[in-house]
């Protein structure tokens, strides 16, 4: 206990430290301010660079965005995006790791906006991060595009959104689409089982899927649902538990490495010769399974992304450039990231602003708009014009002579898989899809 003697020293040093920390921060601030001078538009891109979601989602997404950003600055995109830059400005990006949980992401978001002075933010794969960022984006009045997260609560939690956008579908569409595909292609299936990662995504997916099945295949019986840990890796016990229930269909919302591991293990264990798997995010494994998923396994891509992209100039350009750069066709996270960047370019180009468009101008331009993308024409028709309404596609995996492809692809229009504006999604399913339009 010698503290009594040293107070003056610590006092001085404390003040010294505080001052130098403050000085350093101000210094960096100053640099950031000069960097984002008049002629460039700075966008923060937040995606997983570490942890289990980085490999299958985070990094492909960053690569997809990077390709589009590069092309925007070169002016080498196909029409209607063949002008250089966004609203004539060079597009500059700051990439931030999404790891660390929502509290940390809120902090990083504030840093992006206030310290790095970005003009817009694109990002967020995790639903928890999206939910936490939404209100902050509104509070800070910063134009923000969520490119991948799937929670249907995002726009339920924000009343009257102004600045937050989502250029993809929510997870309800995935699972309603899955149930529709099963009802059309496997009408005789009786015993339905599931395996979901034990967290919000898995729980939400299973809830929406079972609700939709109760409507679309009322004869089918839900026999079992397994909830392994996220990143568990080995599913030996879960597979046994599923086998003892003798299912016809196994639904899974597992993603990335977990989904690939489960599929390979269930295939070797013979579960997938007894039952057909329907993998709502399976598309990211399309070019990675290498035959480890049996032919006929049903894959989804969270919308018309990755292998489900329709043929148009943008998607052809994107696939070619991506293959040339990374040696493999783009998976759905890469397409979704590309779509968000295109949305930003669309909003900036049509904002009519002089110089750097403000968040208000960007939001006004994107709200309720229709823009061209790698997934076809995107209509921002949900959540008061803040969320995309897009078709949902499912198809069967086929692997022959070392080539993987999707067969028997069926696409359901946006109005067929998403609740109309103002409806709670679960309520919409329970009431038997009022206002549905499947043509």
């Amino acid at each position: 206990m010698k503290n009594s003697n040293q107070r003056p020293i610590w006092q001085k040093t404390l003040l010294g430290t505080a001052t130098s920390v403050a000085m350093a921060s101000v210094g960096v601030m100053g640099m950031a301010a000069t960097a984002s001078a008049e002629e460039s538009f700075k966008v923060g891109f937040v995606t997983f660079l570490s942890g289990g979601a980085s490999g299958p989602f985070g990094v492909p997404a960053a690569q997809g965005a990077e390709i589009v950003i590069k092309a925007i600055n070169e002016g080498s995109l196909p029409a209607p995006y063949n002008t250089k830059g966004v609203n004539g400005l060079t597009l500059e990006s700051v990439v931030v790791d999404e790891a660390g949980g929502p509290t940390k992401q809120v902090e990083e978001y504030r840093n992006l906006v206030q310290r790095q002075d970005v003009d817009a933010v694109i990002g967020y794969i995790s639903s928890g991060d999206c939910l936490a960022i939404g209100p902050v984006a509104e509070e800070m009045k910063m134009f923000t595009i969520a490119f991948d997260c799937g929670t249907s609560r995002l726009f339920q939690e924000i009343e009257d959104p102004q600045y937050m956008f989502r250029t993809g579908l929510d997870a309800v569409a995935d699972n309603v689409g899955a149930a529709r595909y099963l009802a059309e292609t496997r009408p005789d299936a009786v015993r339905i089982a599931g395996i979901q990662q034990n967290y919000a995504w898995g729980q939400d997916s299973w809830q929406d899927f079972t609700l939709a099945m109760a409507q679309l295949m009322p004869e089918a019986e839900i026999v079992n649902n397994q909830t392994p840990q996220l990143f568990q890796g080995s599913y030996s016990t879960e597979i046994s538990a599923l086998q003892t229930e003798r299912p016809d269909i196994v639904h899974s919302s597992m993603w990335g490495g977990d989904m690939e591991s489960f599929t390979a293990q269930a295939n070797v264990r013979g579960l997938l010769s007894q039952a057909t798997a329907i993998l709502t995010t399976g598309e990211s494994g399309l070019h990675r399974f290498d035959g480890q998923a049996p032919n006929g396994t049903i894959l989804g891509g969270r919308g018309p992304f990755g292998g489900f992209m329709p043929e148009n100039d943008l998607s052809e350009w994107f696939t070619q450039t991506y293959v040339a750069e990374h040696g493999t066709p783009p998976s759905y996270p890469a397409s979704k990231a590309a779509q968000a960047v295109l949305a930003l370019k669309f909003a900036a180009d049509s904002s009519g602003a002089e110089g750097v468009p403000s968040s208000e101008q960007l939001a006004a331009a994107l709200k309720g708009a229709e823009f061209e993308s790698v997934s076809g024409t995107v209509r921002m028709a949900l959540a008061g014009g803040h969320q995309a309404l897009q078709p949902m596609s499912y198809g069967e995996y086929h692997f022959e002579n070392g080539e993987a492809e999707l067969r028997n692809v069926r696409s359901y229009s946006g109005e067929c898989v998403s609740a109309p504006d103002g409806y709670n999604a679960q309520q919409w399913i329970k009431e038997g899809f009022p206002g549905v339009d499947c043509n």
Binding site: G52, S54, A241
Partner: protein, 299 residues
């Protein structure tokens, strides 16, 4: 009845994997009193090394299964031993004599560093070396099936367990190690080169961790962050069984494995709690774990 059989089979298969993961951890703790947080990273290193070596072998047209297993073992043992040596010589050596908890944090720092080193070497794309797992196929028992690879893991696990026991109980070096476990100062006074024993122990523990990862690699897809998920599981097993005891790790693994299999087959929603519930339950009645030694209090 079917469920009971399934629980027993799954429980023991999972237990054998848990034991593989936990064995290195408990050996290091027993001798060195270091709870090695970086053990999970060694596991991940082994998995990455084996997966990329297998990928290289199969893309070169290799098809021999025995050769594949040799590659798994060789790559994992090599990377485990080398990394173990580097960590012990480069970092831990500077830190001996520090508080047990401080040593835990040092290994935590090593974990953080290794996580990024792996990312720099292997990137973030998952590695998927399924060939040996797929090639071995399965055995059908009524509606149940068991993968032959899982059975192989069980055999390897038993062999490693017996081998470790023999090494500690029946060889000279084992005797020396046990003397260090019992009283480090006295054995030092009797002329034991404790530092050298520490290096050997850490290398063996690290190799066991990497080997566990290498053997698991064909089952799973090898992704960043793999090690972090494994480490708490290994801790729980080792603490339940009693730190530093090989028998304890084996018994702890079997208890946790069976408890988990029971929960998955009967009440899948409880799976997340079961491991911690077992650990807390055991510690309430046996404060030092099942086979843990009560250390004499020094006045």
């Amino acid at each position: 009845m079917l469920t009971v059989w399934a629980i027993l089979i799954d429980g023991f298969i999972y237990a054998s994997w848990l034991f593989l993961v936990a064995a290195g951890l408990t050996v290091i703790y027993g001798v060195m009193r270091i709870l090695n947080m970086a053990h999970g990273s060694l596991y991940a290193l082994g998995a990455y090394a084996a997966a990329s070596a297998l990928g290289w072998y199969y893309s070169g047209g290799g098809e021999n299964l025995v050769m594949a297993f040799a590659i798994i073992a060789a790559s994992a043992i090599l990377i485990g031993a080398l990394t173990g040596l580097a960590i012990e010589r480069g970092i831990l050596r500077l830190m001996y004599g520090r508080d047990e908890i401080l040593m835990l944090l040092i290994t935590f720092a090593v974990l953080l560093i290794l996580e990024d080193v792996m990312k720099l070497i292997w990137g973030t794309t998952p590695y998927f070396a399924y060939q040996p797992y797929a090639a071995l196929g399965r055995i059908n028992i009524d509606v149940l099936t068991v993968s032959r690879y899982d059975l192989l893991v069980l055999v390897v696990s038993v062999v490693i367990g017996v081998g470790l026991w023999f090494w500690l109980e029946r060889t000279k070096i084992g005797k020396i190690l046990r003397s260090i476990i019992h009283d480090r100062e006295v054995s030092e006074a009797m002329g034991v080169n404790v530092r050298r024993m520490f290096t050997i122990t850490f290398m063996i523990g690290a190799t066991l961790g990497a080997l566990a990862g290498g053997i698991t690699a064909p089952i799973i897809s090898v992704v960043p962050g793999l090690g972090i998920e494994v480490i708490v599981l290994a801790f729980a097993v080792v603490v339940t069984g009693g730190l530093g005891s090989i028998t304890g790790a084996a018994v702890g693994a079997v208890i946790v494995g069976l408890a988990r299999a029971t929960s998955i087959h009967t009440m899948p929603e409880l799976e997340l709690f079961i491991i911690y519930a077992v650990m807390a339950g055991v510690l309430i009645f046996r404060p030092h774990g099942l086979f843990g030694q009560v250390i004499a209090r020094k006045i």
